[in-house]
Amino acid sequence: MSNLSLPQTAAGNDGFEPRIVAFFCNWCTYTASDLAGISRMTYAPNTRVIRVMCSGRIEPQLILAALRKGADGVLIGGCHPGDCHYQVGNYKCLRRFKLLKRYFEQMGIEPERVRLEWIAASEGDKVQKVTNEMVEQVRKLGPLNLAEPPKPHHQAAVCAVAAEGAVS
């Protein structure tokens, strides 16, 4: 059935290697990604995993910062509903994520760039699958290239003058 096998590499955006920041919870998804390692499951090298104790710690500001600072996508991994090591942290994460998605819709950020997945400690293969999918999705979208705001300055250049001037 060789003529039916999937093409190995996805086309488009030649040379573009997506940069994806991943936030994984310590007990399920981070453990699963360790398991993927122990099981030598190779997957796309584009993710940079940041470990938090619980997906309940992950807040919009972290995701926004990642995109602002150059990530083309953000992947969030937490325990399956009902499995949270801290009982319900993953629900908080889900609620924030859903609202953030609404915001992104309005801000023109493609939904595929931000993904939330429940990955249990035993699901090393899911880390592999999800990472690969995510990388290909984002590769298809191309670089994010957010419009850069002019850097805010509180420049000290005029401070000296000001200090004296103020009291004069």
């Binding site: 807040e59 919009p60 500001q61 005029v158």
Partner: protein
């Protein structure tokens, strides 16, 4: 000894900031006695040449309000930066981009199209648009050009201090003026307002339940608002929990929820982001579809959480902004 010179300039603003100066009322006399307004287009007849004539740093302080978008505003704020020892971004627009900053949800072209062709009240069959230059009998007329995005003041020139608010509460202005005169100023870059959130000063905080969970959000016109009870607890989207205090909770006292004009506290990197995180966490539901349904009652996330701060937010402006009327 001559009185220190001060300036008060407006960029893209509504005039509310100037009103807040007038709101100083009798204190205004003391201010005028202490400082000498060298430039105040709204109130007195100075011209740009007068500013250009000044020595660099001649003004002790210049308060600039309004967001920055037009070429004229760019030139003026750069000029004023040169002539003033201190620049104070005055009001939400100069501070974070303000209401005009919501224009960053659209690209310039679609905005012009909307304004000069599409609005119900527009009658412009020839599709006339303002031009940077027009030659008329007797010479050239020029108009300022518009930048692609709206910017907060500190995205254009170095800013020394910020006075937040839409408009800024007069006590903050008064305190700032005193600080400038006495030279007792905090570190550069400070926002001249308390560094905690509004709940701390809210008269209704005691009525906020400790086990608050939210089922759906209401808009002020949709309910009979209890005048005593915490507004968030009534389902109103009140941003007081994550918005800088210093306004004496005037909106709450007027039975209206906080809309965030004072911006975030210093520890927060993205005002709307922090608010979204906090408010959504309080939803009662765990089922995905229930959560989504409940969030549908947040009609306009950007307008709700970034009403005064799109330019100063991490996103700065809409990504690949489509034609106006996008949402």
């Amino acid at each position: 000894m001559s009185k220190p010179k001060a300036g008060f300039y407006w960029c893209a603003s509504c005039g509310g900031c100037e009103e807040s100066v007038v709101d100083l009322a009798e204190d205004l006399i003391a201010v005028v006695a202490a400082i000498d307004f060298a430039f105040f287009p709204c109130a007195m007849d100075f011209k740009r040449e007068d500013v250009e004539a000044m020595k660099d740093g001649e003004m002790a302080v210049c308060f600039i309000n309004g967001a920055v978008r037009s070429s004229e505003q760019f030139e003026m704020v750069e000029l004023l930066r040169k002539k003033s020892q201190l620049i104070i971004a005055y009001g939400s627009c100069a501070h974070m981009g303000g209401i005009p900053g919501l224009a960053n949800l659209y690209d310039l072209e679609s905005l012009l199209k909307r304004v000069y062709s599409e609005t119900e009240s527009t009658d412009n069959p020839s599709g006339t648009r303002p031009l940077p230059q027009t030659t008329v009998p007797g010479g050239k007329l020029t108009l300022p050009t518009l930048d692609e995005s709206v910017k907060s003041l500190d995205q254009v020139i170095p800013v020394d201090y910020y006075i937040p608010g839409c408009p800024p509460p007069t006590p903050l202005l008064k305190a700032a003026v005193e600080a400038v005169l006495s030279g007792k100023l905090p570190p550069k870059g400070s926002v001249l307002a308390p560094d905690h959130a509004l709940c701390k000063e809210c008269p209704r905080i005691d009525s906020k339940p400790e086990d608050l969970l939210i089922k759906e959000f209401k808009r002020p016109h949709e309910i009979q608002i209890d005048t005593e009870k915490c507004l968030l607890a009534q389902g109103l989207m009140c941003l007081g929990s994550g918005t800088r205090a210093g306004c004496a909770a005037v909106c709450i006292k007027g039975n209206m929820p906080c809309t965030g004009c004072m911006g975030p506290v210093s520890r927060v990197r993205d005002h709307g982001g922090a608010m979204m995180g906090a408010i959504s966490s309080l939803l009662e539901y765990t089922e995905e579809d229930q959560i989504v349904a409940a969030l549908d009652s947040v009609v306009d996330p950007v307008g709700t959480f970034y009403r005064y701060g799109v330019p100063a937010s991490m996103m700065f402006r809409k990504h690949k902004a489509p034609a106006i009327g996008g949402h």
